[in-house]
């Protein structure tokens, strides 16, 4: 299991993937908003999305685990 962390402090703007979905390397799991920018959260190595720890609109902190992906 890989913990996917937010690299920024901001809020969740849009969730793009759903739990159970197969993700290719580089697929976008969700888009955060920070400093008026859309920052994609990416499944770097791909896998299956096992867990979403946030919902749209909630604030996130840098380093917070926002999703869990199984390799």
């Amino acid at each position: 299991m890989i913990d996917v962390e937010s690299v920024v402090t901001g809020s969740v703007w849009k969730i793009e993937a759903s739990v159970g979905q197969k993700l290719e390397p580089g697929d976008v799991i969700m888009i955060l908003e920070s400093m008026k920018m859309e920052i994609p959260v990416i499944a770097e190595d791909g896998g299956v999305l096992r867990e979403l720890r946030v919902t749209e609109g909630v604030p996130v902190a840098e380093g917070q685990v926002v999703a869990v992906v199984e390799e």
């Binding site: 690299v7 920024v8 402090t9 400093m35 920018m37 859309e38 920052i39």
Partner: protein, 536 residues
């Protein structure tokens, strides 16, 4: 006949006519030195996935180039006046070449008492040791392969007194930072003095899983704070490099560590009195990458891959990113443009939209100083909305650290080139310009600038007007749109407030032209750079 023990006689060995006995002793002493801490200690070291200091030096330097100095140092054991064996001094060093150029290299031998210090007439390595004198006197780079435990309280028993901290030598380590490239590789667990020395470097590297660095290790931490913590959690690569930026780079193993050191030094001059080596790569100066044209999305909220921009502009395969895992809002790379070494500072829109946070600022400060010290021109690829904002950022002193990065930029005297890719705002934007030089600023059509981004500034500057409007949000959008039209980069170019707006594909040829032309001027300003004033 008088009794003369020297006289040849029946049964006595013949008097040597040459120096064979001494050569035999020299050979024996060299064997003892090569044996380090002995086969068992070496096996234990290897079992931990670590190389010995001799293997490390061989792995790092040009094959066969190591000329050791101080091979006979150690503690001899004598049996009735006859040499029985020598425990070598736990430090191996000498002169070598890397990429055909001389370097001073040395490191602790962990297989002998964990590489702890040794009391000879003259220090071999560490602060103020021979290896530092060699780098200083010959003005050649210094590579420290650090694998020593540093001081120990047991020295009180040995000496009969407690040593005052900071005996002579550290001033030499500090002096070297303004004279020659200093590289430190943490090859094991470094605490105290050796850990401090690892930081006194222009660039440092550690090995994932087998090296740790901290002011003090787990036993001291537990005693002082009651914290039980494993050394990997206290000072492994994830903390020391990725989180704290104490060490610049992480190698996956010792072999990669040596490759990284060689690569780093390939961009460096031998000393501050020389310019970095020019290595033509055959990559055409007029190569115009089509990808540059549409890499910046029209939607201003969308980030893009700045590393691609760096790769496409620089000579092919010449980009060497420093501190890639730390302070990710700023990307700092050594690279070549038409063979000449440049430093590239690029904002990363993927992290906080490129806003400079405290880590990014710290990274930029160091990189600007590094480039200025070794006469490496700097290219800024600018997409910076400003310093990071918010309570956390203020609490971390982002403003102070950010202004420090601006301060060093405004003190630096190497040629700098500003390429505005998208946003260039505020003091962070000013820090990306060449105020002591030509101040050449070129921009892509996607560029925008000002003292602060329009969307943030409108709400503050037109607060009353917006509040009084029947539809405040619509009024705010209206004001934004009208300001944005006047903020077109072409209007600033009309006023020569920016020197050029270019097709993004022209970035490489444009920069190469100016970097080539500045080579003669760079040669007139070699030597140490005096620093005045007090950094904020």
């Amino acid at each position: 006949m008088s009794a003369n023990p020297q006289a040849p006689g029946a049964g006595a060995p013949p008097e040597p006519t040459g120096w064979e006995p001494e050569l035999e002793e020299l050979r024996f002493r060299r064997e003892q030195s090569a044996a380090l801490g002995g086969p068992e200690a070496i096996q234990r070291h290897h079992d931990q996935g670590r190389l010995t200091i001799r293997e490390r030096i061989e792995g790092l330097v040009d094959p066969g180039s190591f000329q050791e100095v101080g091979r006979l140092t150690g503690k001899g054991a004598y049996d009735g006046g006859k040499l029985a064996g020598v425990v070598p001094a736990p430090y191996v060093m000498g002169l070598s070449t890397i990429g055909g150029r001389p370097v001073a290299v040395g490191g602790e031998d962990f297989t002998i008492r964990g590489g702890t210090s040794w009391s000879g007439d003259r220090k071999k390595g560490g602060q103020g040791g021979f290896v530092e004198d060699l780098a200083h006197e010959y003005r050649i780079p210094l590579v420290n392969l650090i694998d020593g435990a540093g001081g120990s309280v047991t020295s009180i028993t040995r000496r009969g007194h407690s040593v005052f901290p900071g005996v002579h030598g550290f001033e030499q380590s500090v002096r070297l930072m303004g004279e020659v490239p200093v590289v430190c590789a943490v090859m094991g667990t470094a605490a105290g003095g050796p850990a401090g020395r690892a930081i006194l470097a222009h660039w440092s590297v550690m090995v994932k899983g087998t090296s740790q660095v901290f002011a003090a290790g787990p036993p001291v931490v537990e005693r002082s704070l009651g914290q039980k913590i494993h050394k990997e959690d206290l000072g492994g690569a994830a903390l020391a490099a990725d989180l704290a930026g104490t060490i610049d780079q992480v190698a996956k193993d010792e072999q990669e560590c040596f490759e990284l050191i060689r690569r780093y030094l390939s961009y460096m001059p031998q000393n501050v009195w020389e310019l970095p080596p020019v290595v033509r790569t055959g990559d055409p100066v007029d190569r115009c990458e089509d990808g540059l044209l549409d890499i910046v999305p029209r939607n201003r909220r969308r980030p893009y891959d700045m590393r691609k921009v760096v790769r496409w502009i620089a000579d092919r395969d010449s980009v060497f990113e420093l501190q890639p895992s730390f302070g990710k809002a700023v990307i700092t790379s050594l690279a070549r443009m038409n063979g000449r070494v440049v430093g590239i500072i690029a904002n990363n829109p993927m992290v906080y939209g490129g806003a400079i946070d405290v880590k990014g600022a710290r990274k930029q400060t160091h990189f600007v100083e590094l480039c200025d010290c070794f006469h490496i021109p700097i290219i800024f690829l600018v997409d910076v909305p400003g310093f990071m904002v918010g309570r956390d950022a203020e609490a971390a002193a982002t403003l102070r650290e950010g202004m420090r990065s601006v301060y060093v930029s405004l003190q630096a005297t190497v040629p700098m080139y500003t390429v505005v890719i998208r946003k260039c705002y505020g003091m962070a934007g000013m820090g990306a310009t060449d105020k002591n030089g030509l101040d050449l600023k070129i921009a892509w059509p996607s560029a925008e600038w000002g003292s602060l981004p329009i969307e943030g500034g409108v709400a503050a500057a037109f607060r009353k007007e917006i509040a009084a409007a029947p539809d405040p949000r619509a009024r705010e959008a209206e004001i934004e749109a009208s300001l944005r039209a006047d903020a077109s980069p072409f209007k600033t170019a009309e006023a020569f407030g920016v020197e050029e707006i270019i097709d993004p594909r022209e970035t490489r040829p444009y920069l190469c032209r100016f970097i080539d032309a500045a080579a003669g001027r760079l040669a007139t300003t070699v030597g140490p750079k005096p620093k005045f004033g007090v950094r904020p």
